[in-house]
Symmetry: C2
Subunit: 219 residues, 2 copies
Amino acid sequence: MEHQSRHFQDELDELKGRLLEMGGLAEERLRMAVRSLVDRETALMDRVLAGDAAINHLHIEIDDRCFKLLALHQPMAVDLRSIVAAVKINSDLERVGDLAVNIAEAVRRYLQDPPVKELIDIPKMAELAQAMLRDSLDAFVRRDVPLAQGVLAQDDELDALKTKVFRDLLTHMLRDASTIEPALHLILISRHLERIGDHATNIAEDVIFMVSARDVRHQ
Amino acid sequence: MEHQSRHFQDELDELKGRLLEMGGLAEERLRMAVRSLVDRETALMDRVLAGDAAINHLHIEIDDRCFKLLALHQPMAVDLRSIVAAVKINSDLERVGDLAVNIAEAVRRYLQDPPVKELIDIPKMAELAQAMLRDSLDAFVRRDVPLAQGVLAQDDELDALKTKVFRDLLTHMLRDASTIEPALHLILISRHLERIGDHATNIAEDVIFMVSARDVRHQ
């Protein structure tokens, strides 16, 4: 918006930088949680379980920046939508961080038994969820609607993998009762990954609304 | 805020009314989904699966009201925080509606097998999640911090029930392989209920921040 000051645009850029930083931290923690699962690496798992003060700090700082921008600059149109989107994206990223902890908790339980199987689809789900997070945040920063739409398409892929993981693990559980409990933990991990994809999808929908003021959420 | 117009306060009250309405619809759909499980009542389940145009419509209308209030009235302090909270609560309630659909989908799968056991803790979880939703929304409307804090305490109770459900069903699965698949669906239902509690918790945290400008989220 031309009527907004240079100062406002600098602040908005700063805010976007902070959201990217938070997204990077959340993604890193997700990667650590899933690597601790695949490599059966408890030290990595413990780092995730210890929590992340940096994410918590950024969560509060970003909210604070958004409120200041709303109160001091009284933005309109796309600028207003961007800041409200930033508040929502901030919540989504914080919950992704929480989900990384949930995954690490399930990993801790999973590692108490021998491996159920070689893990292929769960790491695939994690990579896809990470790509969706990255793309949705890039779409926010660049106001890139086609990139955001790509995230919505990737979510269908993630859902299909989740269904496959469920079927595969159910087969193991029915064949060998000793796999019941560890396979259950893997299924719960796949659900946490699905939820991370849901958060990326929420971000992508917010981006589309922010850019076009067009609501794609109930079509 | 005294400097805000009468008109603004009327609009804010209208917004709160809409959020209560949406909360009521989401709660009703949750109740239907869980009753369809307990009574093995597919007609009720189908109603949830058919989606809810009223919730989707309200979701868009509430967002729209929030943006208009921000753009036209440029509210400050607690009024600004209330409207930003309303945007976030609106998202939370929409996801509660989606979770009712997820529960109904799991009910559909669960009903394909004979009952695993008499259901006691899952209906308890549902009642608790409903109470948390109601309380968190009442706390928003009345700016009632102690009520919001009560919701945070109830969430611990919900978590304890979730753990109990997991242990009980795992025992059934280990004892009788024919219960593995249906018990899995019950565990997933309990996780959806836990997430509904998480949304009520988010709302309660937003209310505490709205009233006191004090962030209780990372303590």
